[in-house]
Symmetry: C2
Subunit: 476 residues, 2 copies
């Protein structure tokens, strides 16, 4: 990758001159413990929405509304462009945060933002520092930089923001909100700001997210817990049956054995694999660092990056049955349980997975054991950007300017996680772009979550460039 010496541009100059504003905003917002998963924190989630609405009004957004849902409120804002033909961009993000458990593993209190000097420069440590308050906050400064740098009173594109309050709880009311407010959300492109880049010096664009489906399996053996002395060795033990079932979830090539699971999986093209391979990845560092694991494993024929970003997976997230207390209890338990989630890629559909799980369980059940498969409707569809669209070209130019690079050097990344982005595509019918300032080392969802401040600064600048580039694209 080539990179030219740090240069100057009007957006950057404005951002650099106003970093204190960004830092002050984040410091205030991060002090609000907007944990959506915990009902006790509902007032804080509401306070977080109110803080954001105030900040957007302060910065000049003419329309700012708090949208209630049956759960936590979302914030909507709109700043129309004065240009009649200007495209409409909708920024998606969220203002709720993950729980902080276990609190004792935090070096600093999670809701007292603390600047720590790190190997790549100053870091801000707090729950939500990057996921997702940091990613939303840089848009505040980005919009001001865009207006100042272009000398405009209104942005070059109409900018809408939809910042939800339940993303860390699975966005249970998000699709409903999109349906309800469909007209207000009309847009030409969606800019998702809830992801990140490969490394501080590797400008990159996420191009897809995996989908998600889940299932809970209950196996029932004897009608009651039995004494293992009187019955052991002669009747089916549902824990044995569960172990045998789950042991067959993957074949010896690491492939998921659900019937039909791969039928709709779009094969990885050589171009996609080539693009993924451009992202530097040190597996030993990854194992020793974020993965905290002793070995890499997975589907044969694919790299670790492909396994976590581009291939569908099945994971057992929880498993239980029988006695878990101290000492031993000599029972054959009546029931065994397991919770599974599946990550999906284009063109898999989450609604297909429930039937696949049921067929798979049925085919692998020993005699005398009954199964109950609970697969809630819904799930999350996989979603992706079009690599060759003019929208993507505008994004790459914006990122390249902020990172002092060239569009051809911006890397493409596939995000292994899942979010409500597919709902946006479904409901709004607009293409997706991803612009986020996170890093794989930011410990999102874990103790000591942080953001690298220089990434936020570049994020603000990239946002400012993006609004200009999207307008230019339209005219070009």
């Amino acid at each position: 990758m080539s990179s030219s010496p740090e240069s100057s541009n009007a957006e950057r100059d404005f951002v650099r001159a106003h970093l204190d504003d960004l830092h002050a905003d984040l410091d205030a917002w991060l002090r609000i413990p907007s944990i959506s998963a915990d009902p006790a924190h509902a007032p804080h989630v509401a306070a977080s929405a109110a803080w954001l609405a105030d900040a957007l009004r302060r910065d000049g957004f003419p329309t700012v509304e708090i949208w209630p849902t049956p759960g936590a409120p979302a914030v909507f804002a709109e700043w129309p462009s004065a240009d009649a033909d200007a495209p409409v961009a909708l920024v998606y993000g969220h203002h709720d945060v993950q729980p902080v458990d276990p609190p004792e593993l935090w070096d600093h209190p999670p809701f007292e933002p603390t600047v720590v000097e790190g190997p790549d420069g100053p870091e801000l440590h707090a729950r939500g520092a990057i996921d997702d308050k940091g990613n939303v906050a840089f848009h505040l400064l980005g919009m001001r930089a865009h207006l100042a740098a272009t000398g405009r009173d209104t942005p070059a594109v109409t900018v809408k923001l939809l910042i939800e309050g339940e993303e860390e709880s699975g966005s249970p009311h998000f699709a409903g909100l999109l349906r309800e407010k469909r007209d207000r959300l009309d847009c030409d492109v969606v800019v998702v700001s809830d992801t990140g880049m490969a490394a501080p010096d590797l400008p990159s664009a996420v191009t897809s997210m995996r989908g998600l489906a889940d299932a809970e399996i209950t196996l029932r053996g004897p009608a009651v817990d039995l004494h293992s002395g009187s019955f052991g060795g002669a009747v089916p033990n549902p824990l044995h049956a569960m172990a045998q079932l789950l042991a067959r979830l993957h074949d010896d090539q690491g492939r998921v054995t659900l019937p039909g699971f791969y039928d709709k999986v779009r094969p990885l093209s050589d171009r996609e694999r080539g693009l993924m391979a451009r992202v530097p990845f040190d597996e030993r560092e990854w194992l020793a660092g974020p993965a905290a694991s002793r070995a890499a494993t997975g589907e044969a024929g694919f790299t670790t990056q492909e396994r976590i970003g581009a291939r569908p997976t099945a994971e057992v997230n929880g498993m239980w049955g029988g006695y878990q207390g101290p000492g031993h209890k000599t029972i054959i338990p009546a029931e065994a349980h397991a919770k599974l989630t599946f990550r999906l890629v284009a063109d898999q559909r989450p609604e297909d997975v429930a039937d696949q799980v049921r067929a798979w369980v049925e085919a692998n059940l020993p005699e005398g054991v009954r199964a109950d498969v609970h697969a809630p409707p819904g799930g999350v569809a996989p979603c992706a950007s079009d690599l060759d669209s003019p929208w993507m070209e505008a994004l790459l130019r914006a990122i390249a300017q902020a990172w002092n690079s060239s569009p051809d050097d911006v890397l493409f990344m596939k995000e292994g996680g899942s979010g409500p982005e597919a709902d946006l595509v479904d409901q709004l019918g607009a293409p997706l772009l991803f612009l986020g300032a996170g890093l794989p080392t930011d410990r999102i969802h874990s103790p000591n979550e942080r953001v690298l401040l220089s990434m936020l600064h570049r994020g603000a600048e990239a946002a400012a460039h993006l609004w200009r580039e999207l307008a230019a694209m339209q005219r070009g």
Copy 2:
């Protein structure tokens, strides 16, 4: 099986004339909730010991002592025979009971003994009705019947009783007590009264009990719970590893795969198999009734009766890891756990099992997963009666008289459970006999535990006959 019409004998006549005493004793004793597993019930376990000691003194035992242990107290009693050469018999039983959970499944309060008319006559419902207060209580009336029927002031054999208070908690201090009181417990034969018979009209003698060893396995994958979106499909999941491990606990013939597990197993002789086959067994009834299961399964080449009585087994009693709450949590957990117990038969040794488990886990561990096997020292050795000893002949004659049958018609049964009986053999070096009045349908350890009163009446009579028969055997 032949059976002659109900006849009369002196022991039976005395028992029949004093059933109210037995019933009153049991009613009083069963009201004491002597649950040894629950520290809150420690005063009740002590009260239970005191009640038994008082009853033994009331019935004339010249020596009655409460023996404290670091846990719950045992009761010791001794009634020496005036005959110089009389053999010494030691009765083993226990006065503690199982917990009653879940209380809502009891038709009557577990500590308010209630007589219920059943298909085989009156039943007494209460926790401990048979396990083991019923089995101990019949010895009180049995001794009185023995003395009355033989017209003696002292029993024809010296009778000792050792009734412990921690059997339902794994008898943690029993071996220590035996060592401490070794001299007081000297005996020629041990009579274990903590088992039962095949059916009300099928007089039978237990001839062996299985041993027990336990192990807890912890598998560790990533150092912390990981996000399944970012890492799923690429690092070892300890729940998958646990499933694969436990799926290999048995081979496709239902044999336990621990290396060396069967090395010391004494093959079942044709005679033993023939004796077991004499015990009527309706598998469909057993499945529909006590086993509450939809199928029989187990080691190929053995009957269900052999599997639960005469063959060693491995059961997973508990298994857990990851998320067990509502909804889903998309993690790859750091740890997975399983608790296993093994039933052992002669000449397996519980102390060999820990190393076998460790070797087996080591051989079946995927790359990147570490295992910790915790196998507490101790365990329970299997134990057995000698089918052809004069002691056994005396027992068969006693049972035959009480059940109005002939010694040749008494069935031999193998008990699949495990208890501290092996400690008695080890420490006292005396042969074991089993005399108990339980039935497979008595729901021991479960709600609605009961005893068939007619079985207790016959048990009292059999005990009375046994003391006479053991003395006659010595003289014969």
